[in-house]
């Protein structure tokens, strides 16, 4: 609950601005092959970045307006909005993220193929926006997904969105094929899907929540110690019985001679 110490706040800001100015590291600058390759690689990725056709709330209307005649996203090679996450490179989170919706969003994100980017459009997706205090509102999609560019505004005008997309292009251009995470073995990029409980919870935070609801030092029962367990959905008894009945009938049918 600490209020902000202005000096520290300023410092933090400056650091972050510096960190935005990513440059090609010295050891890579000499590597002509990689840098040339990078250029081609990034140019092609940047010029045909297909967004996911995915609208959440009011901001989606402005997103549609951006894609429509007046602003014409096809000038950026982005007119092909793909409804399938498998075919898209960019998720524009356009609108309020609610707790009920966020498991679906994380699932969609997990289904997108690398390299993938997330652009958070509007105050709501960025930090909860005017609905931040709401009981069903996630205060920013960055609570669950890594976000590449934030576009503030409520709603951001189409120009503001395009400016955000151009920022993203810049970011893409600074990446190097030798360093990007998605060609490395250890990176999976998988985000555990949040679960709807009495309130939504992130499987990554189970230990933290246990400590708070069950008291200090509530030991984990899972042997892995901090390892993420994905909860299975339990079927209720009558569903199980039904499934079992179908299965037996099916098997019986199979066994019958034709």
């Amino acid at each position: 609950m600490a209020s902000v110490d202005p000096a520290g706040f300023q410092q933090l800001k400056e650091q972050q601005y510096l960190h935005d100015q990513i440059t090609v590291p010295a050891e890579l600058q000499s590597n002509v092959l990689v840098t040339t390759l990078d250029k081609a690689y990034n140019w092609s990725r940047r010029s045909s970045m297909w967004p996911l056709l995915f609208g959440l709330a009011c901001c989606a209307i402005e997103m549609i307006a951006t894609a429509a005649s007046r602003y014409d996203l096809s000038r950026f090679g982005m007119e092909v909005m793909r409804p399938s996450p498998r075919q898209s490179d960019l998720m524009i989170v356009s609108g309020t993220v609610t707790k009920k919706m966020v498991p679906a969003i994380v699932r969609i994100y997990n289904q997108m193929a690398e390299p993938r980017y997330v652009l958070s459009m509007g105050a709501c997706a960025t930090g909860g926006g005017p609905f931040k205090e709401g009981y069903n509102v996630v205060s920013g999609i960055d609570k669950y997904l890594p976000v590449d560019v934030y576009v503030p505004g409520c709603p951001p005008t189409p120009e503001a969105l395009i400016f955000g997309l151009m920022k993203l292009h810049e970011k893409v251009e600074r990446q190097s094929i030798a360093k990007v995470a998605w060609y490395r073995k250890e990176s999976s990029g998988f985000v555990p899907v949040p679960i709807l409980g009495p309130d939504i919870f992130d499987p990554r935070q189970i230990q933290l929540i246990r400590e708070n609801t069950l008291g200090e030092g509530a030991a984990s029962r899972s042997s892995g110690g901090g390892e993420v367990r994905v909860m299975p959905e339990l079927l209720s008894d009558d569903v199980k019985q039904n499934l079992e009945a179908i299965r037996t009938r099916y098997l019986a049918k199979m066994k019958q001679p034709a």
Binding site: M1, A2, S3, V4, F9, F54, G55, L56, A57, C58, I61, E62, I64, A65, A68, S69, G95, T96, T98, K100, A104, G128, P130, F131, K132, E133, G134, Y135, N136, V137, V138, S139, K143, C154, I195, L196, G197, P198, D199, I200, F201, D202, Q205, I209, R210, N212, T213, L214, S220, R221, R229, M231, E233, S236, V239, A245, I246, R249, Y250, K253
Partner: protein, 617 residues
Amino acid sequence: MSDAVAEAPVADAAAAEIDASLPYNNAVPGAVLGRWAEESDGGLIVAADKLIPLMTHLRDKEEYDFLSSVTCVDYSKYGGKLRAGVSERFDTVYHLYSTSKGGGHVKLHVRVPENDTVPSATAVYPGANLQECEVYDLFGINFEGHPNLRRVLLWDGFNGHPMRKDWHEAYYDEDAKPFKSRHPAKGYEFHEDKLPWGKNTTYPEGWDPEDWREPITYVPVSQAPGHDELGELDTESIVVNLGPHHPSTHGVFRMIARIEGETILALEPEMGYLHRNHEKIGERNTWLMNMPYTDRLDYINSMSNNLGLALAVEKLMDIEVPERASYIRIIMAEFTRVINHLWSIGFILNDLGALQTPALYAIEEREMILDLFEEVSGARLMCNYMRFGGVVRDLTPNWIKRALYLVHERLPHTLDELDRLLSGNEIVKARGKGVGYLSPQDLIALSISGPMIRAAGIPYDIRKVDPYCIYDRFEFDVPTLPDGDIYARYYIRLLEARESLKILRQALRDIPGGEVQGLPAFASATIEAGFGTIMGGRGGYSFRPPEGEVYQRIEAPKGELGYFLVSDNKANPYRYHVRAPSYINLNGLGPMSVGYKIADAIVILGAIDIVLGEVDR
């Protein structure tokens, strides 16, 4: 009905003596226990066990066939304590209208003690379905006899009923805005730091996340007719889930359909994916703060949402609106109607498979109207333009000239072009004619409103039957079509847009000059002392309407938009409820889709014309 209700002290007292001077007590003895407030309020307190007979009487004998709104008020903190003269915590409120007689409403109150049940109105008005689900979800009131009472906006397993006054969320600051922490001493506070997990979530004490299993939400599509208990494998019907992420659900909406082959046996809407707690936040806001929030209800038509709230508060406080402001309001409301209808026509076509091109043509002119909105209000979508007692700023000098050009030249041209392009198109006809039919009686019973019922031949338009603002001054028709199918729903929107242009032409012609009316030319407290407020003077941004309640409905482009407000003479509304047309029109989605193909269900949804900000609020 339930024994518990019969034992309630009030019901007992009523059974003892029946006051025959109260309305309807002769027809349904003992139904009405008393008046809710003074006579002008019109509210009647109804005995819970007589609610159904009374409603039946009202529907069959008094022609009150349209259940507009069902909602609930938690009176436990009225003016800080349980409301005087109310021994029960909750009060469910019903507003009934007549589509044949027109005119005002009958308002019924049923008092409900905590943990008690009310008989479900679905027995008389099937349209109460979704609204009762909402009340159950947010207040935890049980409706006995409801066919499918479930949590619509939140999910099964959610802890508590958030609209109760004693329920607080994780980022809870105070009961009412403005919060004291913002000024003058504390400094910025990152809300995420409030809780150890950095999110606005709370978990009940003693709850163990490792033991948690998601309950499986059962949607009774399995009770569909023709489904023979999973008997034969080869004719087995399957459940198909569409959404919440689906390109043709117009946002984050989910449909669960049981289909056999491609034919729909049953279909159930599932919403809440954009439930943004509009009402909870609205009850914490001051009255004025709610204005920009209404923009975000039906985010395609922010102007008409503004209008609804402004009218409701004006009715509550009895405020006079300058003539010119009324004209401006009507101009804005009708422009949004044109926008909305263009938008929905475009996207019906999108759903029919004519991807993008017709939609692009349809929303082209929208940009020009948005330019006009931006010119006066400063924003394209979230206009926040109206205020209680007027509008925030006068029009800009050239505005009317530009609007006239649009109304006389561009928009008629666009509508004609769309008409030419689409109305005779074979695919639109083949896919639209005869699909998604529902009889006028069913539509009314399901509380469906707006273009949907006018496409089924019911000339019910609030601008005509229960005029508000200054609509009674304009000459316009209420177009109707007899068919009640998708094609009619598409075409009625074209016709209505033309009628809107008619109103616009008259309003732009008749609008009185700005100088006479003294609307503020600039929204600035220094220029205009007490600007934008009703009382004038400093501090006018927070005012206290007198105690009372009000229900104001307007003919929004999507149907009947109602605001139900309860004031306890505080700076914040005690209860703030929005009767959202999109939400209630979804009552019809299931019945309309049954028997058609799954591809038709998409268009049926498109032709209802929902917007999720309003469905889920």
